[in-house]
């Protein structure tokens, strides 16, 4: 029942959004909350039911480890089979995109945490947004986002996934720009959308390559064909396709070089940052790459690219996060960095580990954001950590839950982050006989930085001396129940979710990887055939050297501890005008980090052209200016010149006509006639009776002639 009605899961939020669109303006806040939160709660229940039913269904012998697919109807395409294109081998394939849903372990995981975290954040928002204008608009957008995200997750083909993909981008745009009267917010919104669009363009092209090569865009068919062995490893078209898909993922999941929109996206309300820009939407890229794993494993170049980009992003963003002062920006860079981790895992072929990190990260990062939101809420909108301090005992629930989340993200045993992060680091170390070991160092350094900037955040916010103004201090209060309850639930998850992937080396059974096995099993075979790896999934893992793994765990714990310690030393007693340790040690580095490596400025000079380089405008705006000039002066100029030449010849012709042809040729004889006519005119003075008289005279003459001839 749940499985067959799986389409209800995305539809419910869509209905909520539609209700808000048409009637939201007239509804009470309570009704708005009831409709929107209710739809998500229902979706969550349905999602749980569907996953539960799916696990039962897929363990039957008939459907063992099969994905569940249901196709409602054809969306794109004529459905008659006559509207076709030709694939690369010349066979016809229809233009086809279904409204179809696919449930397998991969989408189950996303389904659960998206609806779960989404539900909690909806509840949280009823408290957070209670005093804001545009309440119904906010919830309408949130519901629309849930619809898009769930479509993205449950889609059975790339096109429908793209629908969700663009849909979440749109909702992200709308929600970042929620405070649209602020210029910075609308700038950030447009930036997010356009940067995402660049990624989407790559995604589109990747999709076309897949359609051209595989003749279908359904995941099941593509995976099936990819597994069939028709294509050799390293096939250039598949490499191109996967690289283009990864461009899309870079846009959506904020990887280098398209990460720039995510920190700015913090202009949106904090629940939005938590839901969209931390827990769910930004992991869509990870989802898409994991979904296309069958293709990626056929393209080692793409895999390497993914891994390197991921690792670089991780350390790059973490280093920026070290010195940021805006509480949400720290978290934003942390998100970018963690997403880098996930891509690192995917790139080295440890899909399950990457997905595991997505899963745990969703909870603790959402918790961190919501906690930050709670802090901001209590501080009456203040986001700068330099003006906080000593909040720990004033908002205890927020403090404690956030502390749990910090432990989780820093990778302290036994919190969730520890398991997922260590899984990634371990896979990076061990995959392909250590080919990626250089990336491990990067990941390790990142872990150290992560611990440092997270504990820096904690100490600056909750400990040290109070640095806020007296008025603000006076207003500090713990958030309402609707906000703290989600925090507590998420804190529980931040502790517990990691245990799902308790590794074998520590005596666990790593249920998480096992659950995902059907999705990635095929790839393990490919990788093995390739001879690139000796182990991937459970069952093989016992063979590896547990002692090395323990050593690595200990090292990363040490790194986390070191970061914590450094932060403790520097910020424990932070008072007004505290010194940043990095600024004290190497000021130039601090400056570069504080200005985010000047990347935004560089992009403005080179790509967007919003800043002029001297007198020259480069980038798109420069091209646009040049094109506009070309258009008015050259293209339109040519048209006008043609008109001008025509008019010039016209003027000459008319002069010739007037003075030569008409003047001499025509008017000449006329003038002559006129001159000659003067004598004749003497007889005519216009009096009627004179004419009659002349007539009579004529008559006299006439009669005279007849009488006397």
């Amino acid at each position: 029942m749940f499985l067959t009605h799986i389409w209800l899961i995305p539809l419910l939020p869509a209905v909520g959004a539609a209700v808000m669109f048409f009637f939201g303006r007239r509804l009470q806040k309570a009704t708005v909350s009831a409709v929107c939160v209710g739809s998500i709660v229902l979706a969550f229940i349905l999602a749980c039911g569907a996953v539960w039913q799916y696990s039962a269904w897929s363990s039957t012998s008939d459907n063992f480890h099969k994905p569940y697919q249901t196709i409602l109807c054809t969306w794109l395409g004529s459905d008659t089979g006559h509207l076709n294109y030709r694939t690369q081998d010349g066979s016809p394939a229809p233009l086809q995109a279904d409204v179809g849903f696919l449930l397998d372990p991969l989408s189950s995981i996303w389904l659960l945490f998206v609806t779960g975290v989404g539900m909690l954040i909806h509840i949280y928002s009823t408290g957070y947004m209670a005093h804001e204008g545009g309440y119904y608009r906010f919830f309408g957008y949130l519901n629309l986002f849930m619809f898009s995200m769930l479509t993205l997750i449950l889609a059975n083909n790339y096109v429908l996934l793209f629908v969700g993909w663009e849909g979440v981008g749109l909702c992200s745009y709308l929600l970042i720009g929620f405070y649209f009267h602020r210029k910075s917010a609308s700038d950030a919104a447009a930036k997010a959308f356009i940067v995402n669009r660049i990624g989407d363009a790559g995604f589109l092209l990747g999709m076309f390559f897949i359609a051209w090569y595989f003749g279908s865009l359904r995941f099941i068919e593509v995976t099936h064909i990819a597994h069939s062995g028709r294509f050799s490893i390293g096939d250039p078209i598949i490499t191109a396709a996967t690289l283009l898909l990864f461009v899309g993922a870079c846009g959506k999941s904020a990887q280098l070089p398209l990460y720039i929109w995510l920190p700015d996206a913090m202009e949106g309300p904090t629940p939005v940052s938590a839901l969209i820009h931390a827990a769910t939407m930004v992991t869509a890229g990870v989802y898409m790459v994991a979904r296309s794993n069958a293709l990626f494993v056929l393209a080692p170049t793409s895999m390497k690219t993914v891994a390197i980009v991921g690792a670089l992003t991780a350390i790059f963003a973490a280093s920026i996060g070290l010195v940021q002062n805006d509480i949400k920006r720290v978290l934003a860079y942390s998100t970018v960095s963690q997403l880098g981790y996930m891509f690192l895992a995917l790139g080295v072929g440890a899909f399950a580990a990457g997905v595991f990190h997505v899963f745990t990260h969703a909870f603790f990062k959402a918790l961190l954001f919501l906690g930050a939101g709670s802090v901001i809420h209590s501080m009456s909108g203040e986001q700068d950590m330099r003006n906080m301090g000593d909040l720990g005992h004033r908002i205890p629930i927020t403090h404690r839950t956030m502390f749990i989340a910090t432990l989780a993200i820093a990778g302290i045993f036994p919190f969730a982050g520890f398991f997922s992060k260590d899984a990634i680091l371990w896979e990076t170390w061990s995959r392909e006989g250590g080919a990626y070991r250089f990336l491990w160092y990067v990941g390790y350094a990142t872990a150290l930085m992560t611990a440092f900037y997270m504990f820096r955040l904690m100490y600056l916010t909750f400990h040290g001396r109070p640095r806020m103004s007296h008025e603000a201090e006076h207003h500090i209060h713990e958030s309402p129940m609707s906000m703290t309850v989600p925090l507590i639930v998420l804190a529980l998850c931040a502790v517990g979710t990691g245990w799902l992937g308790w590794p074998h080396s520590l005596g666990g059974s790593d249920r998480f990887t096992k659950f995902l096995e059907p999705v990635f099993a095929g790839e393990a075979r490919v990788l093995q055939e390739e001879g690139r790896t000796s182990q991937l999934v459970a069952g093989v893992e016992e063979q590896h050297n547990s002692s090395t793994e323990w050593l690595l765990m200990a090292l990363s714990l040490a790194a986390a501890g070191l970061g914590w310690g450094m932060a403790w030393r520097s910020y424990r007693h932070a008072d007004k005008g505290y010194t940043e340790p990095i600024a004290a040690a190497v000021p130039p580095v601090y400056d570069v980090l504080l200005h985010k490596y000047y990347v935004d400025e560089g992009y403005d000079y080179v790509f967007t052209g919003r800043r002029k380089l001297g007198n020259v405008r480069l980038g798109v705006l420069g091209l646009g200016t040049a094109s506009a000039w070309f258009d008015t002066h050259v293209v339109d100029g040519a048209v006008n010149a043609a008109g001008w030449i025509t008019r010039l010849t016209g003027t000459i012709s008319s002069w010739w006509d007037k003075w030569i042809i008409d003047g001499i040729g025509v008017n000449g004889p006329a003038t002559l006639a006129r001159i000659l006519s003067y004598p004749a005119r003497l007889f005519e003075w216009g009096l009627v009776q004179w004419y009659a008289l002349v007539m009579t005279a004529g008559l006299v003459g006439f009669v005279f002639y007849y009488v006397y001839r």
């Binding site: 067959t4 269904w57 569940y68 697919q69 249901t70 196709i71 969306w75 794109l76 395409g77 004529s78 459905d79 008659t80 006559h82 509207l83 076709n84 294109y85 030709r86 694939t87 010349g90 066979s91 016809p92 229809p94 233009l95 179809g100 793209f162 629908v163 663009e166 745009y173 720009g177 649209f180 009267h181 210029k183 609308s186 700038d187 447009a190 959308f193 356009i194 669009r197 363009a201 589109l204 092209l205 076309f208 390559f209 359609a211 003749g215 279908s216 359904r218 099941i220 068919e221 798109v620 705006l621 091209l623 646009g624 094109s627 506009a628 258009d631 293209v635 339109d636 048209v639 008109g643």
Partner: protein, 547 residues
């Protein structure tokens, strides 16, 4: 009724214009009511065509044919011969819908010379419908030219400050192209006579003989290419394709709102329609065996990116939308010259989409213009605060225009891109930046006009949409969502004609030199059997879940 439905649709607006002639011009409200009645009537009368056409959407050839060849001026072989296929059907429905909407939208916008305005508008409507219906080249040309005059007057009388410049530019530019087309038509006409001894302008007859020019030793490929360009200029100016587009921004900026809507929504489609209806079937060999097609594709790609870039820099809202039309129409011509069923059907769908979304965009600009009498982007800001409903509708239409999935624009663009990509992936790849730039210029415009706080005190008192204005948008919104959510009917309507055209173009003509390298799949299909060209695919059955 069934047999004459096309004629009824065609002449209803003209009847309205005749009736209006008898209404005293002082009686403005009566004139408005009558004009609206007739335009709405024209739309409603065209609705029964939908089920009728739907019933025979898979049948080959033209449907609802009326008249016969040479029944009009037998001495020269011109006839009143009209009929439609899926392509013209969609465009006709678009025309009747947009005609109604634009007439409705001019209720308060036009205050002087109301009677003439509506009379010309209704005549224009008949002209446009006639272009899409005519199956006789003479008739086609008559409508093609006849529709120029009302548009010229609409721009020239009710336009903005530089209306005369714009109107004359529009008129002369289009006329220049038409003259070349007339020469081309006459050549085909006499060529047909030379081959068969019959003087006729009937399209179906010319379809038989025109493709033979290429391989005819008396003329040869060069003549065929020249002829192709004779038609090309007429259509490319109308579309407008890249170097011929500059009349468009001027005409749009100066035209009254309804004129812009019709100009963008329908008039531009005549160019693309001309390509599909005439250029492709008349000169298949020119397209398949010479470099001409590559040039067409290159021009389309330039239009896509260049139009978007120029649009990015505009300071005038209408000009911005006008250049975005150049970009969008670039997609349409790209789809046409990709010469694949997907490209063609996407192109026609995109033409309809462009009519809907860009039509709506011009209405949107027109509404602000009516309130503030300026189109300068810098004059606005924070309009969302004072006109929330308007802002919402605008957002939806912008999204539709930039091709967001589940709205109409995406369906067309995706199909075009896929069809083009499959023909040559580089073509598809070069077109994709246009999608990104579309988002850039539209969102930037939205941000500058709607976001922020109201900084200009003149904008503080703007009132939101009136019910009449909302009513003008409702059909467009419905269509936008319909095409976006459930485009299958449209694909089914287009399927037969596009396959037919592609089959005609890709099948080697008698005596034509088939270049196997450029045309790997040409040999399969006889001209008339459409389904055979691209045989039914072996569809992989989806894995159905158990209940």
């Amino acid at each position: 009724m069934q047999n004459h439905i096309l004629s009824i649709i065609l002449f209803t607006p003209l009847l309205g214009a005749l009736v209006l002639l008898f209404v005293p011009k002082e009686n403005k409200d009566a004139i408005r009511w009558i004009a609206n009645l007739f335009s709405l009537g024209g739309f409603l009368i065209s609705l029964p065509l939908v089920p009728m056409f739907w019933a025979q959407r898979f049948e080959p050839g033209f449907k609802f044919i009326e008249g016969s060849p040479s029944n009009w001026i037998p001495t020269i072989g011109a006839g009143y011969l009209i009929g439609i296929d899926g392509i013209s059907f969609l465009l006709i429905m678009l025309t009747t819908l947009l005609g109604w909407i634009s007439i409705l939208s001019s209720w308060t916008a036009i205050e002087n010379r109301v009677k003439e305005y509506y009379v010309w508008f209704l005549i224009l409507q008949t002209g446009m419908l006639g272009v899409f219906m005519a199956l006789d080249f003479f008739l086609f040309f008559v409508f093609w030219e006849a529709m120029l005059v009302p548009m010229y007057l609409l721009i020239g009388i009710w336009g903005g400050p530089r209306k005369l410049y714009a109107a004359i530019k529009f008129f002369l530019y289009t006329l220049a192209g038409s003259v070349l087309m007339l020469l081309g038509i006459l050549f085909l006409y006499f060529h047909h006579h030379a081959l068969t001894g019959i003087y006729t302008f009937s399209l179906t007859a010319l379809y038989q003989t025109a493709p033979k020019i290429y391989s005819d030793p008396a003329y040869g490929p060069n003549i065929a290419i020249l002829l192709f360009f004779a038609f090309f200029f007429a259509f490319a100016i109308k579309v407008p394709m890249f170097p011929f587009h500059t009349w468009l921004p001027d005409a749009h900026v100066e035209a009254p709102t309804a004129g812009s809507v019709i100009l963008a929504g329908v008039l531009l489609k005549m160019g693309t329609y001309g390509f599909i209806r005439f250029s492709l079937p008349f000169f298949p060999d020119v397209l398949m065996h010479t470099r001409v097609r590559t040039w067409m594709i290159v021009l389309s790609l330039i239009a896509i990116i260049y139009g978007a870039l120029v649009s990015l820099m505009q300071k005038d809202m209408k000009k911005l939308v006008a250049y975005s039309s150049v970009s969008h129409l670039g997609f349409c011509t790209l789809g046409i010259f990709a010469l694949t069923p997907l490209g063609l059907s996407g192109s026609v769908l995109q033409q309809v989409n462009h009519g809907i979304s860009t039509g709506a965009l011009f209405l949107i600009v027109g509404i602000l213009y009516e309130r503030r009498h300026t189109r300068e982007i810098a004059e606005y800001g924070g309009i969302s605060n004072v006109m929330p409903v308007y802002a919402t509708i605008t957002m939806i239409m912008f999204l539709s225009s930039m091709g967001l999935p589940l709205l109409n624009g995406f369906v067309g663009e995706f199909t075009i891109l896929q069809g083009t990509f499959m023909e040559n992936w580089r073509w598809g790849a070069w077109a994709v930046p246009g999608v990104v730039l579309a988002a850039a210029y539209l969102l930037w415009l939205y941000q500058r006009v709607f976001f922020g706080t109201v900084t200009n005190p003149k904008n503080e008192k703007l009132h939101d949409l009136t019910p009449r204005e909302v009513l003008t948008f409702v059909p467009l919104l419905i269509m936008a969502f319909w095409i976006g959510l459930y485009p299958k009917p449209f694909f089914q309507i287009l399927e037969q004609p596009v396959n037919q055209i592609v089959a005609n173009v890709r099948t080697p003509q008698s005596g034509g030199v088939v270049n196997a390298a450029t045309q790997p799949d040409a040999a399969q299909a006889p001209i008339a059997t459409t389904a055979a060209v691209i045989d039914a695919p072996t569809r992989v059955q989806p894995t159905k879940g158990t209940k």
